[in-house]
């Protein structure tokens, strides 16, 4: 469930644009005003505000924000103001440019979006970067990582609930055999994870658990901790079956600064606020005994903190 709070009575896009313009006028910037508007508008509304702002001032709202704001807060506002497809395209492009074997952002975008959302990202990528996302991913990644990641970003999964139980049984068995032999990058494993529908994949891993008495993720935990590909594989399965758990793990590392995933906090809050941040928050609390909002306010400051709290739906606006 989303955490975004939009009041039932919302000013017109041009009124919002006017207000935003006033937030930039004069010395300094009125960040509170920016947050009070942008953090409480849906993606469609933000799109209209951007258009209205451009008509009124002749400049792209994002350019102005870029000029006026700094670092974490700016990043949060930038990601938030972009349309979801464009946002994902931006995240993917950044991920390819600074790709390392620990980078899981490409997989995250490919596996936690719906087929339609991923498609929009691919279209936005064409428009913004004048090439296809799969070209860039293929060009910047290597070996087993490339095989898995190109397949994942190219997928256009069937989204129905139909499940073939015989197939689930077969493929659960297949996966079990490959994993036993530590054949993590086997073609069939990649094929199953990157082409099957999410419903089918869930059925397959439920079957796996029935047969072997253990969740696949637990089995994979017993592998080599330093094996980055194995880590990516586990995250892939998690994203396809229980994305909220994946996000909780990433958030925890980000907040405790134990990971190398810079910007994860901003990325996850802005990309999930309109999707399932509520569920993620609930799961976070369950696993860490502290509400997500509290963990965030302990770790962040100033306008950046206010923005994140607003997106969590926890401010008073």
């Amino acid at each position: 469930m989303a955490t975004l709070k939009v009041s039932s009575h919302v000013p017109s896009p041009s009124e919002d644009a006017e207000q935003l313009k006033s937030a930039f006028d004069g010395w300094g910037t009125n960040e509170d005003l920016i947050i009070s508007i942008l953090a409480h508008r849906s993606a469609e509304q933000r799109k209209l505000i951007r258009q209205a702002y451009h008509e009124a001032s002749g400049e792209d709202l994002l350019k102005t924000l870029d000029k006026e704001l700094t670092s974490d807060f700016e990043r949060a506002i930038l990601l938030w103001t972009l349309e979801p497809g464009e946002r994902d395209a931006l995240l993917a492009n950044e991920a390819t440019k600074r790709w390392t074997s620990s980078n899981q952002v490409l997989m995250e975008v490919a596996c936690t979006r719906t087929s339609t959302q991923l498609l929009h990202a691919r279209q936005a990528y064409h428009a913004r970067y004048k090439k296809s996302i799969e070209e860039d991913v293929a060009h910047h990644t290597t070996g087993d990582f490339r095989k898995l990641l190109v397949s994942l970003v190219s997928s256009y999964r069937y989204e129905g609930d139909e499940v073939n139980m015989t197939l689930a049984k077969q493929e659960a068995k297949l996966i079990h055999e490959k994993i036993k032999d530590k054949n993590y990058s086997d073609e069939d494993v990649i094929r199953i994870l990157s082409t099957r529908s999410k419903a089918q994949i869930n059925a397959t891993f439920n079957r796996y658990q029935d047969e072997h008495g253990e969740e696949i993720l637990k089995t994979l935990e017993e592998g080599d901790e330093d094996d980055k590909f194995l880590g990516l594989l586990r995250s892939t399965i998690q994203c396809l079956t229980r994305p909220e758990l994946y996000f909780v793990d990433v958030l925890r590392s980000a907040i405790n600064k134990t990971g190398t995933d810079e910007g994860a906090l901003t990325r996850i809050v802005t990309t999930r606020a309109e999707i399932d941040l509520k569920v993620i928050g609930e799961e976070y609390q369950r696993r860490n005994s502290i509400p997500l909002e509290k963990a965030i306010t302990k770790d962040t400051r100033g306008d950046y903190e206010k923005m994140l709290v607003a997106l969590l739906g926890e401010d008073d606006a």
Binding site: H126, K130, S132, E134, A138, S154, S155, T195, R196
Partner: protein, 320 residues
């Protein structure tokens, strides 16, 4: 000149409702053959007993019964009519499904659909596949094809190529070098090469055109001259770079007097699937002319008969 029929008469004619009253087949051919694709869309929307709206994916899907019914009645002509009235996305999805079922020798059909359609049309075919077969095109291909060809075929159908006019020539040049080395490998080794798969299934067609130019310079020979032992690789290259040459070759094979039944059907497929794209059929006909010294129209006139022939010729003249 045959008069044109209204939508209702067409629907009745095709449904066989007017049994005994005869179908004015000339009028049917003329109307359908000359119809603009938007007109056919209206036809599909109006024929609720034969087509069902898939609102989510924005196309009108053929009822199975309708497909079966027509196939029983009309043979080659009607196969053409059925294909022609279908939404292009459904057509392509069904072509791929059929190719998968038939096996090995038909995999070039998958290459054809994946490589000669625009990015939007290939995507549309994948949407239609979801709707028709409750699975994704790539999963069906991936689970039914094994061995060397799987990687390339899955890659090709998953592509959503950039279609703008920006290209990095030096990138194309280095890809050309990679391809130049790999392509000479024996058997199907070339398509097992991950770099070859990457280049063919992710690069834009414009990029590949630049690559083509560089390859020919580097090697001093034509990349499209059947350089590889892998027929599927040669087909993919031809489809991506010179589709009208590919199609004219296919047409030639299907018009050959020794062609078997399966090959003869290619004639229908090429005509029906390319006729919607204004200049394509014209280009194909010109290429055919250049290559084989006879006009396509003439060959069709000689080698086919009856309503089928008239339908094909109508489609051909529509493009002129």
């Amino acid at each position: 000149m045959a008069h044109t029929l209204d939508l209702e008469s067409i629907v009745e004619a095709i449904s066989g409702k007017n049994v005994g009253m005869g179908v004015d087949e000339k009028a049917l051919i003329s109307t359908l053959g000359n119809s603009h694709k938007d007109h056919r869309k209206l036809f599909r929307k109006a024929s609720k007993s034969f087509f069902e709206e898939d609102e989510e994916r924005a196309f009108e899907k053929c009822h199975d019964q309708f497909v079966k019914h027509l196939k029983l009645e009309f043979s080659r002509f009607n196969n053409a009519v059925v294909m022609w009235s279908m939404h292009p996305w459904e057509r392509d999805a069904r072509v791929v499904k059929k190719a998968l079922k038939k096996g090995d020798e038909c995999y070039s059909l998958i290459v054809e659909v994946a490589c000669t359609r625009s990015s939007e049309d290939l995507l549309g075919a994948r949407k239609a596949y979801h709707s028709l077969f409750d699975q994704s095109m790539e999963e069906d291909i991936a689970s039914n094809i094994h061995g060397a060809r799987r990687k390339l075929l899955v890659g090709l159908v998953s592509a959503y190529r950039y279609e703008g006019n920006k290209v990095k020539d030096d990138s194309a040049k280095s890809d050309a070098k990679i391809l130049a080395e790999a392509v000479a490998s024996p058997g199907e080794k070339a398509i097992e090469n991950d770099e070859v798969v990457r280049i063919l299934s992710t690069r834009s067609k414009l990029h590949l055109q630049h690559l083509y130019k560089h390859y020919n310079q580097i090697k001093g020979s034509d990349l499209l001259g059947g350089v590889s032992e892998s027929s599927i690789l040669n087909d993919a290259l031809l489809c991506l770079l010179k589709p009208s040459v590919y199609f004219s070759k296919i047409l030639n094979a299907s018009l050959n007097k020794d062609a078997d039944k399966g090959t003869k059907k290619w004639l229908t497929r090429v005509f029906v699937t390319r006729a919607d794209h204004s200049d394509e059929l014209k280009e194909i006909a010109e290429e055919y002319n250049q290559r084989y010294g006879e006009t396509l129209a003439q060959n069709i006139q000689e080698k086919t008969r009856g309503n089928y022939r008239d339908f094909l010729l109508t489609l051909l003249s529509k493009s002129n």
